[in-house]
Amino acid sequence: MLEPISISLQALNLPSLLPVGILIVGAIFIIVLDLVTKSGSKSFYTMLSILFILLDLGVVIGYYGEARGMFDLVLVDGIAKISQIIVLVTSAFFLLLAMSQRRFQEFSMAEFYALFLFMIAGFQFMTISDNLILIFVGLETASLSLYTMIAMHNRKKAFEAAIKYFTMGALAAGFYTMGSLLFYALTGSIEIHEIANRVILNDNLSVVALIAATIFMIGALGFKISIVPFHTWTPDIYEGSSAALAGYMSIVPKIAGFVVAMRLFEALLNLNVLWIENMFYILVIATMTVGNITALVQEDVKRMLAYSSIAHAGFVLSAILIGTSEANSGLFLYWILFMFTNLGAFTVLWMTRHKKNLWDERYQHPFVKFKGLAKINPFMATMMAFFMFSLAGVPPLSVFWGKLYLISAAVNAGFIYLAIFMALNSAIAVYYYMKLVIFMFLMEPASEEKAIFTTNATPVLKVVLAVAVAFTIFASLFIDKILAFIIYHVTMSGF
């Protein structure tokens, strides 16, 4: 007979859930508000959402309690904290992009903001747990919101993107469950740390099955962080969604995916199964290379950035392969630096968003659009150039430091060839970033009309841009602090 169970609130460690709780309450609040009054405007919802996000952020930063909570389901360790901060900061900035000049369907609907907050909550759940179920449900929550939000952009392309993303996401969910099943079958557990423990304890379990489980997990998480060959969605989805959302997608879902991957794969890589290590080696290099060389031939800036984000993901994935705490710190450092640069780049695209596709039948942001931008709008062109060079890894701009740190981590861990591959890939990547700079600076403008490049610009966007560019240029000045923070938290949580 079932005995009554009594659990002390203390043991539940409810504060560990407080951050997510705030968001969920916020989201529901927005929905309710929308039901009650129809007067909420775009700026109102944006600011309200950002308020909730900031509240959340404050709580996350201020949380120094137990790592475990809610029956050990929740795990708020160092990397969870860092990744939540990244998620929240990024969300806040990208949500600001809703304050654009043009009106867009999605931003006029309260549901968008609710979904946005739900999505963030989903990602947060992914990061604060090592239970495969919670991760799965969190991931699905976030994904479902994201699909909807993409579709809410209300263009045919957006629908296409959403459907593609959704369908592939469903397949990835299948992979995820299959992988979990195999792990479960192997170890009888669905908690990552427990899985790892049991694999170590159990000598004669089928290694092939372990590998198979890993493979399905690579398929599932690889889809999220766009590892080749699970990357095919990336360019299409970026192209289909608004620049603001595309930029967001290049950062947040991936960092959530990376945290899960870090938790899971590093536990597996620690098992010293050579096959997994080699497979990761191949995947890292394939992802970097395919992303880079495909980006070389793109005609659209957003699409190019999509491929470039694949390459960056591959670059960062190497941290998981390397697996030292230096590499893991490098991953977060890289992503923070990458975030601000990408924020800037996508903000520029967003600002130049025109209601019609003036330059190309298909693309909103083809390279030719930026021809001679330096003459038309030198300020914007200069900023974009900074972002491009930063992404290319030209020192002293922000992403360079991330690359430096990651390559250094590779070298320090003895992955010399990996380091060389990483370095060579950054050399290839230079071309396509430079291509945009060349279009902007070295070519003559097609028309002198300045206004078409700023139809979507507002002071808010300009502020975002200024923040991004300041961070990109002066990254070297505060990297020390960021790095100290990251290293402290990463080592604290044992990665």
Partner: protein, 508 residues
């Protein structure tokens, strides 16, 4: 005086940022003013330079990224001092001669940014900082070539950027590996080159690391067969771009060899001495011959740069004070002379909008001053004694003679071939009858051009006659460097070679 180095490094970029606010009409004057101030700052640096110290001086050192051991570390010694002055001087002079009207503001800003990076490269002693300036220097140059060049400028700019960038990424890996090794041995993260000088590396590691650094420097120099970006870059760049590229940016590569490759990897450097010398020799002769075949005046000078850089490499790898000092002196002399030659080509290009030699002929009679200055620079380029060109070439070749006289002799044919292509250029363009009607009304140099060229002529002759103030600090710093190398060398044969290279006598 405490922060003079930072001032010298960052003054142009700060001033360049201010230039955004200056209106286009007066921005050229603003640029010149900044360049003059910067030049005087570098002169102040020189005045404050203590000739008695052969190591680093005016050190500015504080930690920038402590987790990573990266610091802000600037210092100057005899090797870098004059390269800094060369950079500021050539920038100033190039701005004097600037006659571009289009987007002048952007150009001035780009040039000032470039100046910061160039000076930064020579003054950074933290290698990450060095790498930072090294890479950052590509960006303004990309812009200068790409925006103000001639028809194929974009191709040339891309090629320049990609090639040099790709070359240096391996160096980055090498740098990080060195940092790792330093950490392994000492337990401290440091990227300060002076710290690295203390580290003795096993031979096979030296070979690999030398290779990683080599590619970056070799492409920048550019060494055969990595040189093909240079003719395009020079051929397409506007005058000011070519001047700065030839005068300063190429020197970054050879400076890198002197500052990093030799003292960090002495055994590997000695091990690769002969192969590199052979490459250098090939460079000297091959580039000289290709230069002879050119039809475009600017290309001749571009290839001549390659040829001369070969001699510099040869001197660098002579491993003795004479050779290395000579090669450093030649960096300066080549900077001045090739800069001046590019400027001169710019003068005629501006008047005729062509650089093809067949379009010219007999220019000496319409533009005598131009021809005279050209001739002086030409003589500097072929290394006539009492011009600046001789000393470096002489010392470099002499230095390497101690290592291998046959290679030296073959490379020495460079002085013959140099005369061949230069004189044939001069003959084709300046001598002979004046046939082309378009050339008959050409105007001789104007004030702007004089103001740029006269200082150069003056320097070419002055430093040719009295190189002592420049050579002395170079020589003592190089001696110091060789002492470091000597301390670090681990192989017995390398030690012997190093000893032999630096001693007199002992038979052939």
């Amino acid at each position: 005086m405490d922060y003079i180095l930072s001032l010298v490094v960052f003054f142009p970029i700060v001033a360049g940022s201010f230039a955004f606010l200056v209106d286009a009409k007066s921005v050229r004057v603003f640029g010149i003013a900044v360049a003059i101030i910067e030049f005087f700052l570098s002169i102040v640096l020189w005045l404050g330079f203590d000739y008695g110290i052969d190591g680093m001086q005016m050190v500015e050192h504080f930690s920038l990224i402590s987790q990573f051991g990266m610091s802000y570390y600037l210092a100057v010694d005899g090797i870098s001092l004059f390269l800094v002055i060369l950079s500021t001087f050539m920038t100033m002079v190039a701005l004097f001669a600037l006659s571009i009207e289009k987007d002048i503001k952007n150009l001035i800003i780009a040039v000032l940014f470039l100046e910061t990076t160039m000076v930064g490269v020579f003054l950074s002693l933290d290698i990450i900082l060095f790498y930072l300036f090294w890479e950052a220097s590509l960006v303004p140059m990309l812009y200068i070539i790409g925006a103000w060049g001639s028809e194929r400028r974009i191709y040339a700019a891309i090629k320049f950027f990609l090639y040099t960038f790709a070359g240096s990424v391996l160096m980055l890996v090498g740098i990080l590996y060195m940092g790792h090794l330093y950490y392994e041995t000492t337990g401290i993260w440091s990227f300060a080159i002076t710290d690295w000088y203390q580290m003795v590396l096993p031979f096979n590691l030296q070979l690999w690391l030398f290779g990683a650094f080599f590619l970056a420097f070799a492409i920048k120099v550019p060494m055969f067969p990595f040189h093909t970006w240079l003719p395009y870059a020079h051929g397409q760049a506007p005058t000011i771009g070519s001047v700065l590229l030839a005068a300063v940016m190429l020197k970054m590569g050879t400076y890198g060899f002197v500052r990093f490759s030799l003292p960090l990897f002495p055994d590997a450097s000695i091990y690769f001495m002969i192969p590199i010398a052979i490459i250098a020799t090939v460079m000297v002769i091959y580039a000289a011959m290709v230069a002879y075949a050119q039809e475009d005046m600017k290309q001749v000078i571009a290839y001549s740069s390659i040829s001369h850089m070969g001699v510099i490499i040869l001197g660098t790898f002579a491993m003795n004070t004479e050779g290395i000092s000579g090669s450093i002196f030649m960096m300066i002399s080549h900077g001045i002379v090739s800069g001046a030659l590019f400027m001169l080509v710019g003068v005629i290009y501006e008047r005729r909008h062509t650089k093809m030699m067949r379009e010219f002929g007999g220019l000496a009679s319409v533009m005598p001053s131009f021809a005279t200055i050209y001739a002086i620079m030409l003589m500097g380029s072929v290394g006539l004694p009492l011009t600046i060109g001789f000393i470096g070439e002489f010392l470099s070749l002499m230095g390497f003679y101690r290592i291998d006289w046959i290679i030296t002799m073959i490379a020495g044919t460079g002085i013959i071939l140099g005369a061949v292509y230069m004189l044939s250029l001069y003959k084709r363009s300046f001598f002979g009858p004046l046939v082309n009607d378009e050339n008959k009304k050409l105007k001789d140099l104007n004030f702007k051009e004089y103001s740029a060229l006269i200082p150069l002529v003056f320097l070419v002759i002055l430093l040719g006659i009295y190189p002592k103030p420049v050579l002395d600090p170079i020589s003592s710093s190089v001696k110091n460097m060789i002492r470091i190398m000597d301390k670090k060398v681990i192989n017995k044969e390398s030690k012997e070679i190093l000893y032999k290279a630096n001693s007199i006598g002992g038979g052939r």
